[in-house]
């Protein structure tokens, strides 16, 4: 049938096809631009586990991280995420980039999800883009995230540009350049909010581990059976206490979401994170990406009729149950690392420790895939909790295997950090009437 005449319809912006400058878009779409710039606002009002707070330190909140990430860049600085306007600033100032030990330089691969200039750079530089250090790139780059990360600058239609995403989906048999609009409302986010590794056989090219599927177990299998062999990627780093080859998980929002109740009902990331809001007499999509719990009237109440406070309390009660398990898994992994260390001190050989190390790697992976995910279980609670139960069991198994290898039975005691963690949580932004609101902060990176 004929399109009703009044909808957005075909647009021709007159912009260059590779335009990345957000100011050029601002003139044409002032409402979306204004909304985008609100990403600078910081607050945690209404949300217990998320929100947007300047450099809220994970290392401080979860004391066991120091042991879990020992020997790895994430033990230098690791913060809660904040708005899209801060991507470049946070990259440029984080100790994971500025303060690597022994004068090591962080690779360009890190830029990949931080600026709209990247796809163009990859086109120009090829794989050299990935191996060039971040600090080199930073000098030459003038744009952070912009409209062109998700929109075709000429038609403003949604589209994906991230090579890693396009390739990974192609390996799964899906051509995402042909995706429907509904799919794209999720895929544009899946360009970045996903687990990744840097492929050593291709100068550190950003690669997504989805060949065998999206579940934590399937991605682990991919790492063990494909990445480790074909792509010579045995590990992210070697754990200094246990000597195990470890994997680091990063923001697997998209993967976690698969198979969830909302996903099977066709709900997209944009439905919750970019709800329509009224600007005058018209609806536009919010371009302020943050915790939907801060704006439940827009994000949830069209679909859900229950009282929003009831729904929020339910969500938080699910998150509380997840959080309890997460910390148990974290502390169990700490015991595992220390137990293997103890076994080594007691004279266990590498051969004795094969099993314990395998278990430790797998245990911490299962913990991290949840710890690194940003919804504290909301996006897919059943899968998340199942994963954490595996993390706990595997960590305990690693500990028992270490005891056997080291021939000791006085296993290091687990530390319960829960009082400290809960105490800190309740002073930073929660309960909601105490939620913290902060002024916008510096976004520059030069």
């Amino acid at each position: 049938g004929k399109q009703p005449s009044s909808t957005l319809g075909p647009i021709n912006t007159g912009l260059a096809p590779d335009e990345v400058d957000i100011q050029k878009f601002a003139v044409l779409f002032p409402h979306q631009y204004d909304s985008f710039m609100k990403n600078a606002e910081m607050s945690t009002i209404g949300t217990k586990y998320g929100g947007n707070l300047e450099k809220d330190s994970h290392l401080e909140k979860y004391p066991y991280l120091k042991t879990l990430f020992a020997g790895y860049a994430f033990s230098l600085e690791y913060n809660e995420d904040r708005g899209h306007v801060y991507t470049m600033r946070d990259l440029a100032t984080v100790k994971r980039v500025t303060s690597l030990p022994n004068g090591k330089k962080q690779v360009g691969s890190c830029m990949t999800c931080k600026s709209a200039e990247v796809p163009g750079m990859i086109q120009k530089m090829g794989l050299d883009y990935y191996s060039t250090p971040v600090e080199e790139h930073l000098k030459n780059m003038n744009h952070g995230m912009s409209c062109s990360n998700c929109h075709d600058p000429q038609t403003m239609k949604l589209r994906v540009v991230q090579p890693a995403f396009i390739d990974a989906m192609k390996r799964r048999g899906e051509d995402v350049t042909k995706a429907t609009q509904q799919q794209l409302r999720t895929y544009v986010c899946a360009q970045c909010h996903v687990e990744y590794y840097f492929n050593p056989t291709r100068q550190g090219e950003v690669t997504f581990p989805w060949d065998k599927g999206f579940t934590p177990d399937q991605m682990e299998q991919y790492y063990n059976e494909v990445a480790a062999t074909e792509n010579k990627f045995p590990q992210d780093w070697k754990h200094p206490l246990s000597g195990a080859p470890m994997l680091k998980a990063q923001h697997p929002e998209f993967e976690t979401y698969q198979g969830s109740i909302h996903q099977i009902n066709g709900v997209s990331c944009a439905d919750c994170h970019m709800p329509y809001e009224k600007e005058g007499n018209q609806k536009i999509s919010s371009h302020q990406w943050t915790s939907p719990l801060k704006q439940m009237q827009q994000s949830c109440s069209v679909c859900h009729r229950e009282d929003m406070d009831t729904l929020r309390n339910y969500v938080i009660s699910k998150q509380d149950l997840t959080f309890e398990m997460l910390n148990k898994a974290g502390s169990a992994n700490e015991v595992a690392a220390k137990s293997i260390e103890k076994a080594i001190q007691a004279g266990a050989t590498d051969a004795d420790l094969t099993e314990a190390r395998k278990l430790h790697r797998s245990a911490q992976w299962h913990w991290d895939i949840v710890a690194a995910e940003n919804s504290m279980g909301f996006h897919n609670t059943p899968l998340t909790m199942n994963t954490l139960s595996k993390a706990i069991d595997l960590a305990n198994q690693a500990t028992m295997a270490a005891a056997k290898a080291g021939k000791f039975n006085d296993i290091p005691a687990a530390t319960s950090y829960s009082d400290y963690i809960n105490e800190r949580l309740s002073t930073k932004g929660w309960p909601k009437d105490k939620g913290v609101k902060m002024p916008a902060s510096d976004m520059s990176w030069k």
């Binding site: 909808t7 957005l8 018209q282």
Partner: protein
């Protein structure tokens, strides 16, 4: 349903078909215009009841959403085919829970836009016509106008 009502409906369905096919189209439209006509069927009463409590009661009746309003021909066709099917199903065995068939969804969606087009004109909500997984207005507005729960009619 009592027998007398069954007979009424049976006759009605025949009338609808004949009227649409023949010369009495105008009469058919007059009869079927009111929302109360829809509610003359047992299985329609829930929908009537929920609509009566909705903000649309004063502004949109059943036909405003559920019949093709693009032109007289389309309207007649959609009323006649749907009307005949409903009447037929109603006599055979009315199902306990109704769900819109795909072609009805298209009709309703177009009608949402008919009234609310200016509100959504800055969005891409109407861009997905041909796509199999398209999102309809009522995928989000899940309670407009019938509420969420659809108990079987008494």
């Amino acid at each position: 349903m009592e027998l007398s009502k069954k007979i009424k409906v049976g006759i009605l369905s025949v009338v609808i078909l004949l009227a649409a096919a023949g010369a009495a189209t105008a009469t058919m439209h007059a009869v079927t215009h009111e929302s109360s006509f829809c509610a003359s069927c047992h299985v329609m009463q829930n929908y009537m009841a929920s609509w009566e409590h909705s903000s649309h009661r004063e502004v949109a009746g059943c036909n405003d959403c559920h019949t093709d309003q693009r032109n007289y021909l389309a309207k007649t066709y959609s009323k006649a085919t749907a009307g005949a099917r409903h009447a037929f199903m109603n006599v055979i065995k009315p199902p306990e829970h109704l769900k819109m068939i795909e072609s009805s969804k298209e009709v309703v969606q177009r009608n949402c836009l008919r009234c609310h087009d200016s509100l959504v004109e800055k969005t891409r909500l109407a861009d997905q016509d041909a796509e199999a997984d398209r999102k309809f207005c009522f995928d989000c507005h899940r309670s407009t106008p019938h509420g969420r729960e659809r108990p079987t009619p008494p």
